[in-house]
Chain length 427, copies 2
């Protein structure tokens, strides 16, 4: 096994050569950096801990039948995938196996695999952006790697070195970087997924798993400018509950939401507003986090979102919105046009409070946040047979969301420099 690592180290440069048109040679260095993750007995050379994900062991199998990326204008979210995918198998006996970037194609899985029976699956959603000069960036990818590990732990699936996986994801993006649309608002959506693949139908921690990453070029959520959506206040179905898995990005949180979404659509609403408990606490919007802006009696503007109490997904956009608002308040990074008398709260909000504020003219705006839509303004909530109306400006947005959206998009594309933007390659 010591030999295997040595071979991996020697193999690395040749892989780097095979992708020499790419803008980075991380593999040459990572062989050194990551081989150290494997603990060995200094006398016998035997493994004393199982291998983590090791970029130095990457195998690259080039797609010899690549397709031309479709015109950006024809893109529908998540329906077209790039020429390659990343796969990393894991087993309880031997840890993480060598990562492989290979042609995009079907997975071969035994019908007894636990993912098919017990929903042993979790995922992340990330984006890569490409500017006119060919520079490719990602937005706070470390947050996704951390959250993915937290999700894995919650399902008794294997955890991993998030930096190592991120290096491999960057390499996958570099391999398929001509698939990243460069039109403003377009990006490459990246979907890391981890599934249990034990070939046995008992319910337990799987002894085999597969991590894979696929990429899909996507267009802007609102190609014709912002169009506020109407939400249906759902009280008969839940997305999450205390002690459940709503705070983790698990597949299990999504399938049960499809029927409630269909019901909302039938009633003429775009998405569910998940209301919790007899108090009808606002938790999330469809598959997005939720923000409300109130004008308080004392004149302050309050930006509120539900606290991370275990029912709320710790969204990267949610965290970024909170951070931007707090940096503005603290003076660390002032945002022009954002009110000076802003306060930020992570606290429970009931529909009663929203309705009362709307009636009194103190509801400033309400919006969803997520990786796909970034910010999604809301103009109406169907609630207990009536509609609560929410102000929006002619551009579809509100005074707080507009400023935050501009800053967020600027930081994502790198036009506003920030440490949140991570360079994948320069040209």
């Amino acid at each position: 096994m010591a030999l295997a690592v040595f071979r991996a180290a020697r193999r690395a440069p040749s892989i780097a050569r095979s992708s020499s048109s790419l803008c980075n040679r991380f593999l040459r260095f990572s062989a050194v950096r990551y081989a150290a993750d494997v603990t060995r007995d200094p006398m016998t050379g035997e493994l004393t801990s199982l291998p983590d994900i090791e970029p130095a062991r990457l195998k690259f199998i080039k797609n010899t039948d690549p397709r031309p990326p479709p015109p950006s204008s024809s893109l529908v979210f998540g329906q077209v995938f790039t020429d390659h995918m990343l796969t990393i198998p894991w087993s309880a006996n031997s840890g993480w196996d060598a990562p492989k970037i290979q042609p995009y194609g079907p997975l071969q899985l035994d019908p007894s695999c636990t993912v098919f029976h017990y929903a042993q699956t979790l995922f992340e959603g990330m984006k890569a952006y490409r500017d006119k000069n060919g520079k490719v960036t990602m937005f706070r990818p470390d947050m996704n790697m951390k959250r993915m590990n937290v999700s894995a732990q919650r399902l008794a699936l294997p955890t991993f070195n998030g930096d190592a996986l991120l290096e491999l994801i960057k390499e996958l993006i570099r391999v398929d970087k001509h698939w990243i649309p460069q039109e403003p608002g377009y990006s490459l959506y990246i979907r890391p997924t981890l599934i249990g693949t034990q070939r046995a139908i008992g319910v337990g921690p799987p002894n085999e798993a597969l991590l894979f990453v696929i990429c899909s070029p996507v267009g802007p959520y609102y190609p014709q400018g912002f169009k506020p959506i109407a939400l249906y206040g759902t009280t008969e179905y839940i997305r999450a509950a205390p002690g459940g898995t709503g705070g983790y990005k698990l597949g299990a949180n999504y399938a049960p939401g499809v029927v409630p979404q269909k019901i909302a659509a039938k009633k003429g609403y775009a998405q569910n507003l998940w209301l919790h408990g007899p108090e009808h606490y606002l938790t999330e919007v469809g598959t997005m986090n939720l923000f409300v802006v109130f004008k308080k009696d004392n004149g302050y503007i309050e930006l509120v979102t539900a606290p991370l109490d275990g029912m709320i997904l710790p969204g990267v956009t949610r965290d970024s919105v909170l951070a931007l608002a707090r940096e503005h308040i603290s003076g660390k990074s002032k945002l022009t046009d954002l009110p000076d008398n802003l306060v930020v709260s992570e606290r429970p909000v009931t529909m009663g409070e929203v309705k009362a504020a709307a009636d009194k003219g103190q509801l400033v705006e309400l919006f969803g946040t997520g990786t796909a839509a970034i910010i999604s303004p809301v103009d109406r909530i169907g609630y207990l047979g009536g509609d609560v109306h929410i102000p929006t400006d002619p551009d579809g947005m509100g005074p707080v969301s507009r400023v935050l959206w501009k800053e967020l998009v600027g930081r994502q594309l790198g036009t506003i420099p920030s440490e949140w933007s991570v360079t994948v390659c320069e040209s």
Copy 2:
């Protein structure tokens, strides 16, 4: 397309011949019976509704490399599978495709398939029993077909004719009937599964799905006689909540239970007892339904289980236990040794009530019910730092569960005649 059905009708007898060693020729008849399910325009012959599952269209691809079934004594639950599997693809455009019994083997699925990302999966657990004369039976399979359709509806996956699927499952059992162990307590576990296979990572009703059925020979849950288990009263994690999916047999209900189970095991308990709400209502045991038996102040014996309030899986064994007890009480079918002063309740029970009854010597017994274990007696519940002890007899069971178990097993194996036992083949 009218021609296709005609071809199917002609093909059927030849398939029946190819499996002529089997004990039934349903295909010959089903061609007539099920072709009628497809609605056609009487003038043009064109489809006016999409095809349902049609046994007459069955394609049989024989496994040319069959394996010998392993010795029954070596069986571990759900680890070995028979030579064949049943697959039936569905698409939103063309409905249910021709069913196929084919060699057991890997599924080829696009990595974007919705089952991998959003847990679009549901399943059933059934058993086939084989007696010394080769007679093969199933136990109340219509209940599983109904529940599977209810689950499909909950996930916006396609529903189907349950009788038609059951005919096909019986055919699969007949094809692999030499895999059914004939030792007492052994059986063939049957796992119908339905997954969303749309190749797109949007969250919505899938436009493609796959129904498959695999079979695994299994041994008795308690090969050395009943061994009561200890439960850990779980209050920090939930299995289900009002408005959630606990009442449906979805994959999404299972993966989140693995970590709580590991925690219970670490504390020295075999399974979780899922306690709901601040009242600590007893809901389910691990992946089983739960029954408690109280001795009431008025001398009556009360058999209690949680009501089907949306959080409780409507188990087939649960329903059978309730039906047996009620038939005993009504006099329709008296069970020797079961108390005459029995009452049956579907009502909420709190841990407070269980603990108080245990303290007063009025807790008779507590057991789980499920397809795998049938009846699983409990002798201890870890609760708020202490242990509640539950009486068990020297044979591991209690006075109510023992009688019900005997009757259930008799009806399952057909030694006690009942309409619950469905014959798959006679020799």
